[in-house]
Assembly symmetry: D2
Homo-oligomer: 268 residues x 4
């Protein structure tokens, strides 16, 4: 049972979102007797336990907050991090392109702070499994904590391993590489992917993409696709409806491909 | 058990993707004794049954195809349609923003051709449920067929109803409106959404967005967000790595908001 | 003779650009005996007078700068301002769409800080003329100074007038409106434009654009065009070639149209 | 005197634009006694001569057209071409970044169909000069005709030369390279540019940009800038204001840099 399983009334043990404005919200577990300190005053956990979600909560200074269950977007964006984190605009598209669904068995490397791990673990459901690789153990500790707060430990196998020696699973449905040198690991990916399986990667520079394209071709991957996603927000003001002034210009290039048993002669 | 549950060897009854190039693939069910006709020759189903996925399949004219299990992206893009269909770039982001996950109870209206319905049904898992509303029965027939080919009928309740009279569920986790006048239905959305629940809509014109913003404000929705997503593909050629020449300029504006019990005084 | 007329050796009276990095440059006039103070040390004007452009100049603290003649882009971007300034990405396109060239007679309103005025004055040449309208005299003082530093006063007529009463010229080639309510002034624009002449405007919000479209239609303007221009910079690093992290998401919508004597029946 | 010098009444010898809709217009010279044939009927030149610009003109089939003087944008977009032509969105920004103005002396290579040549010739005015290089004479014939129809021959020197042997001018203000291998010509550019002068190039692929960046660094160019410009049009419908469905995804990367006498030690 995950953090998401009950709506309605906030209970001790729930992971909640205390939100004031769109840019400022806090996600934490409700514990009887504890207090949550913000620069706009203290909120007692006991004042939230038993309240319906969607309620307004008042701090001791009179500041008002909304009591929410956190959405997956908010969880990803507030993930404690020691690395660059992936953005929801990219993650959502990756989910579809890698065909991640309840029951999927998927490898990701590296684990990083576990931002993507949380989403994968949510979407593979109880029947699926995420195998998350990292080379250094201390790097995975943060991701483990991030998964633990969602109570999704059962769905994630954290693995410390130099993957240039290969992955330890067989026949996974999808592999996603979020590390600087995916082009060095394509043979290993091919071995672990079920034929017809889905490969994806995120890379910041064109130089890296070019190297990866060469290796995907060399290893007979097909349907190789490169794209980038832009997300532009608008000021949600009905009288002055216009885009915001500034936006993220680049998070990374997304590369997708499918594995096959053999490559047919002429290929696009 | 859905179309996705077994990888490995193609079996009678499987939904398969027969792919030649990125822009041309066919998705159909394998049936012993049948033939599939393409302009590049005939492929016998019996030549595919028993083959491993990822294999190369030859037509009677010698054209080669790959035998795949279809990904959710390919399913959406080949959905038989009588309406404008949603794009994977938007659907992926909607999934995250509406917090759709295994176990979610979600309403969509209208059903349309069932492109989004397929994705929602895949992601809510066996524990979740999709309530898909449409005003005219004949419109839903195509969507029913599209869901049936994924064997996901159990997860979708198709409902014929004029939703200006309200929805028939209570306390759903999320509502997504893909119809021309969401601004006329916000009170109804508020009633059916659990407090703290997630609302989303897709609208092509700024005039519609402006009207919707007014109604969301009037009905005390909070964290109102408008955005648009652009997806640009690249030529996946390592020696000439560059964007493609043309792209989709607009599919629609995405609007998101959260429902609350009451609105706090000062709001962003 | 304008600031641009002599390349080669820096002389007293030249408008120069003292540049350290792309984001930090200073534009000022060389005057014998004076000093220029930066946080990286003092540079004597006499150390620059007589030096060839393109030279390296050293401050008394040993910091190095390049001695340049300023380009029009740098002039626009360092314009002293009391209002939002227009961006080169938009200005360049406006020049072409309004057909501004040596000899053009063009109206702009309002003057603002004179950023666009400088560009128009540069491009109309000695044979052309810019008529720059503003309602409040004190607003134009800054623009006058900005034009004076380019010695382009002869090309610009600064006019203080409430333009709802109409413009005082006849038969100008182009009109550009950079003010909040262009939709209130379309009849006046039509009267002052030569038939076949070019109209342009910049507006931040969709609400304003919608109002303007209505008025342009009502006043029989044709070939009405709305667009927006995005400019994305890249890190100019050959080993890590990639877009920068953040960019400007919106400066404004550009609207263009042409004036005609009468409108033909069926119109696009 | 150029094609632009008189507005008002259409005269024999004028270059005119006969426009029906935004996507369909014709540009040609008015000659007494001649006829212009369109699929919507014949228009007699004598029916246009003497008419004011901005008038409606009727074909013998009753179709209506507007009589305009062509703008520079329309001229570029209807340029007869044997090569890929540059887009106004890029040209406008190039003008500003290369500081092209009345009086500028500028080199472009290659000439191509003369699309950019026309704009440069318009903007350098009578006092400026464009030096347009091409390696094969037959390639320049079309550009010569395109310049001749604007009566701007005096402002353009067409030169046939292998520029790997260097340019024949000295101290030009700006150089723009629109050819596949600008990286092979940077030493030659440096020699012909006045110190402090402006360099620009347009390249379709990232591989080419990467090579160019290396050579610009090696030849001590500074303020190296790479960017790309997107232009998105909207449907100019006040009741359904929204972007058009499709757009140009890529024309090329723009690269700009400035030449200096020597490079200072630490550089950005």
């Amino acid at each position: 049972m995950d953090y998401f399983s009950h709506y309605g009334i906030a209970k001790a043990g729930d992971l909640i979102e205390l939100a004031s404005t769109q840019v400022k919200y806090f996600i934490f577990e409700l514990k009887p007797g504890e207090e949550f300190h913000t620069h706009r005053g203290i909120v007692k956990h006991d004042d939230m336990i038993g309240k319906p979600y969607g309620s307004v909560i008042e701090s001791h200074k009179g500041s008002l907050f909304y009591l929410f269950q956190p959405g997956i977007t908010e969880l990803v964006q507030t993930t404690k991090r020691n690395t660059q984190i992936m953005y929801p605009k990219d993650i959502g598209y990756i989910l579809l392109r890698l065909n991640i669904k309840p029951g999927s068995r998927v490898i990701e490397a590296g684990t990083g702070s576990g931002g993507l791990t949380q989403v994968l673990a949510s979407y593979v459901g109880n029947e699926g499994q995420v195998f998350s690789y990292e080379s250094r153990e201390e790097m995975q500790n943060l991701a483990r904590k991030n998964i633990a707060r969602l109570a999704l430990e059962d769905r994630v196998s954290f693995i410390i391993r130099d993957i240039s020696a290969g992955f330890s699973q067989e026949g996974v449905d999808a592999v996603f590489l979020d590390l600087p040198n995916p082009y060095d690991l394509i043979q290993q990916v091919k071995e672990v992917l079920v034929p017809g399986g889905f490969f994806g990667a995120l890379l910041p520079t064109t130089n890296q993409v070019i190297k990866l394209l060469i290796e995907l071709e060399r290893n007979d991957f097909v349907f190789i696709d490169v794209c980038e996603i832009s997300l532009r927000f608008y000021q949600s003001n009905a009288n002055k409806f216009r885009p915001v002034d500034r936006m993220v210009a680049h998070t990374g290039y997304l590369i997708f491909a499918r594995s096959v048993i053999e490559k047919k002669g002429e290929d696009e």
